[in-house]
Symmetry: C2
Subunit: 139 residues, 2 copies
């Protein structure tokens, strides 16, 4: 249901969430850790930066960091940035039934948007912490 860009983008952000205040991490390093294509992840990073979700320091020694606290970054912003179909216009013109269907689907999309706005990266971080506890348990 979610394109790979969203999956990878979330892994990228989750990795950044482990960074100490004021530090940065490069795409090459993250791609290596996460076993993802450097170039593909690079494009994702640029998109997230343009959306104001991450901050960047260009040049040597640079890299990315989260622009805001986890609970202030919503899944809506991320999906909107990385999944073009969320945006794609729904026609509310034309034939009679077409208008009705268009308005109906717009209202559903709005509800979906509200849902996504209520979910923040904090929740993702919790899933991640849970996962690590599970591993700790076996050691």
């Amino acid at each position: 249901m979610f394109p790979k860009k969203v999956h990878y983008g979330l892994r990228f952000l989750l990795t950044l969430s482990g960074l100490a205040e004021g530090t940065h991490l490069g795409v090459a390093e993250i791609a290596e850790r996460e076993q993802l294509s450097v170039k593909f992840l690079e494009a994702i990073a640029v998109t997230l930066r343009k959306e104001g979700i991450v901050d960047v320091r260009r040049g040597a020694g640079g890299g990315y960091s989260l622009a805001r606290p986890l609970k202030e970054i919503t899944l809506y912003q991320i999906v909107l940035a990385l999944d073009e179909k969320l945006d794609k216009e729904i026609s509310t013109e034309g034939h009679n039934t077409e208008k009705a269907v268009g308005r109906f689907l717009v209202s559903v999309r709005n509800d979906y948007g509200r849902l996504l706005r209520r979910v923040t990266l904090e929740k993702l971080k919790n899933y991640y912490a849970e996962e690590n506890e599970r591993i700790m348990y076996y050691i």
Copy 2:
């Protein structure tokens, strides 16, 4: 955000919703009214029938009708039938962050599923009625 199959499928169902009890309407007729590709709509109709959303009478004089009252047909059933990506498996295996992201996205998809289950065709019909009133107003 929704594939054309869903748009067309809803227009198809909305058209059927105007039918008198016990009557049927053929795909060719509906495609003509709605200005849609007959063959494409045909495939959509078959899918909706397999999902139990519409009933069919084969042979001459046959056609489709709604299988249940409007308020008992949810958008979830329709989208599940016509949009394959809703189903597509989300990997909750592999790398650490991959698991966390997988479980996180599964939970979001579940919330979305609940949202879609709360929306029925009755609501679509209301949008349609509204639309017609708007037109009546100008006459």
